[in-house]
Amino acid sequence: MNDSLRTFLRHPAGTVGLAILAVVCVAAALAPILYPGSPWDMVGAPLRGPGTLGSFLGTDTMGRDIASGVMHGARVSLMIGIASTLAALLVGVTLGAIAGFAGETIDLLIVRFIEIFQTIPNFVLAILLVAILTPSIWTIILAIGLVSWPPLARLTRIQVKSIAAREFVQAARCQGQGSLSILLRHVIPNAISPIIVTGSMTVASAILIEAALSFMGLGDPNYMSWGYMIGAGRTVIRQAWWASVFPGLAILLTAVAINLIGEALNDALNPKISRS
């Protein structure tokens, strides 16, 4: 693991990604301190440009501070991104592991199930789920989780299958170790690193899906999110480009950072690279 850490830190992309993400996390953490009160508060004149006193990223149509919104939005985006990824991991890894380790019939059934879920256009499904369950932070997390698991399940299944076919697993079986113990002690630990990598990238795509949902008016109206800000700012894009450009940049940077970290993790956790 130390090797991996070293490789990760040696990876320039990973360091840049970590730095950006750290900034985003700090923004999220400091939001209530720097901007106490709600990002919905109408603090100044509407449509003030960036750099004006008291609102360095400008204000939107209702005089709300964009900077406050971007910082508070970081909390929402990160929260939804991570929570829905965890939900997707829970479903995906469980199903994938069962498919990869169980018998042919169960495997076939699960694979069919995954395929069908992959056939359904996933963003449309997310829209449908959120609309049906009415938009709230929990339904959004649920919907994103439900549309994000198939790739994770697929990956887990392939990983588990390939690890399970390795000779050390057969050796463990010959040593008399039980199936569950083999799965948990030998298969999963060896299968997990690409899943971690893909999982970390899933956070980025979850943030993007959340933004798109909010943009289309399917966000939780009680949480200021970046997608909402772009959606609200988009209509005034000529009068106030700052209202949609800054939250857009925030999404972009966060997603880039997470992908960079994912790539660095991939290199770090890939024994081929880190150990040669």
Binding site: R166, F168, Q170, A172, Q175, G176, G178, N190, P271
Partner: protein, 542 residues
Amino acid sequence: MTLLSVQNLSIVLPVGADRSHAVSNVSFDVDENQIVCLVGESGSGKSMIAHALLGLLPAGIEVDAGALMFQGMDLARLTPAQKRAVRGDRISMIFQEPLTALNPLKRVGEQVAEAVRIHAGPMPAKAVVAKVEELFEQVGLPDPPRLRRAYPFQLSGGQRQRVMIAMALCNNPKLLIADEPTTALDVTTQRQILDLIKSLQKTHDMGVLFITHDIGVVADIADKVVVLQKGGIVESGEAKTVLTQPTQPYTRMLLDAVPGRGAFRKVGRSTTPVLEVRGLQKRFVTRQGLFAKPREVVAARDVSCQLAPGDTLAVVGESGSGKSTLARILLRLVEPDAGEILWHGASVRDMNRKDLRNFRRKVQIVFQDPYSSLDPRLKVGESICRGPMAFGTSRIEAKRLADRWLERVGLGPQAFDRFPHEFSGGQRQRICIARALALQPEILIADEAVSALDVSIQAQVLDLLNDLKVEMGLAMIFITHDLRVAREIADRVLVMRQGQIEEERPTEELFESPRSDYTKRLLDAVPGRSFFAARAGLGVPA
């Protein structure tokens, strides 16, 4: 006349590699119409030399000193365009893996035609086709007009290698570089390809630089030998001289490490078998879909054999003969379609979970690939401990056991806390043996356990297994494709072919007077057989 003269060649490795130079200060000549063998174990730098000749070294690895004189020019100092003009024209090359060396998406005829066109200039399509078919004819490919249109995956390994040779020959090269061209092939195919290369070399008056790790192959084809070790030349000279009167200990060691030259083992008196197999049947059926025709491979057809305590049975066969499946069926890692497996008279197939565990404890296996048979995330000691602990041994006791076994296989207890990647292949295979034996089995199944190892390491591991066997009174099933290894270690040999037993005899009988034609062909194909037979006859000290 000297065709190629390698002078003081040094190849530098990128920073951070395990040594600074892949090859240093290597000099040798290849004359016209001569086969020069570069022989050495893995890591000796022999392939690097071959790649350096054609300017195909991987990025970051460069020739930093010396000259590669070929027909008056220094190959190391050519411009890219000059290099291309030489490649495939005056010097051509064939590689180890004929499957990966051919583009899977192109018809083989087209791949050969491409090589023809590059150097021959514009040519009518018909002429190219004729040329390709002629080349196919030359390398002994059946039905050239049909085969020309085949894709690589439709050909057998031997056929693919013939295509590679045809491609190499198409412009009548002066020098042919063959980089382990037969290593990936079955022994009978290897024999054919070796013969083909040798005859083509004669008819085309080529110089051949033949790279191999197998000194048996060297004995069969070499005019001249260059022995490499860790990037330097140990010894070189006329093949006869070097092989019969090696001056260097390393060369001698290489020669002595070749298995299967000692006295035959005495066949133990047969007692009650510990393990008996009757009428085993296994077909693998892969379903393609709901209505698609399933594909079928027969892995075992009416296989029966038995194993007595202390007995060593070698199961020999070419790839696809079903020998590895047999091992897995014995352990019930694969369920057979029919037949019986009896363990001390009790049916293994009818065992419940608990009995099966106890059975497996007594029958341990060592796998072929030392890299994938250890959990990369577990300390090796831990891997060994897991087995005894699964049967209720306390952790402290298991650790003590592991330490003892690590010591016994020659690694020492300090190995306990290290990870598999810190060990070499041979060391890993020792760890696997320790892991298997820590459970005090009655039978040890070795599934190609030494095939992936260099010949010197192979000899050590075989010795270790032999010692342990005697020490513990183990019965052993030794699965191998290498008849020499079988002869070295087995009391009895079982020859398999396409899931069927060809013949099963005591080792000596089988080697001295094989009954089946197939066995005879196998024996004939063993590289360097006559040389080593002669060498043994000459009484060269073992």
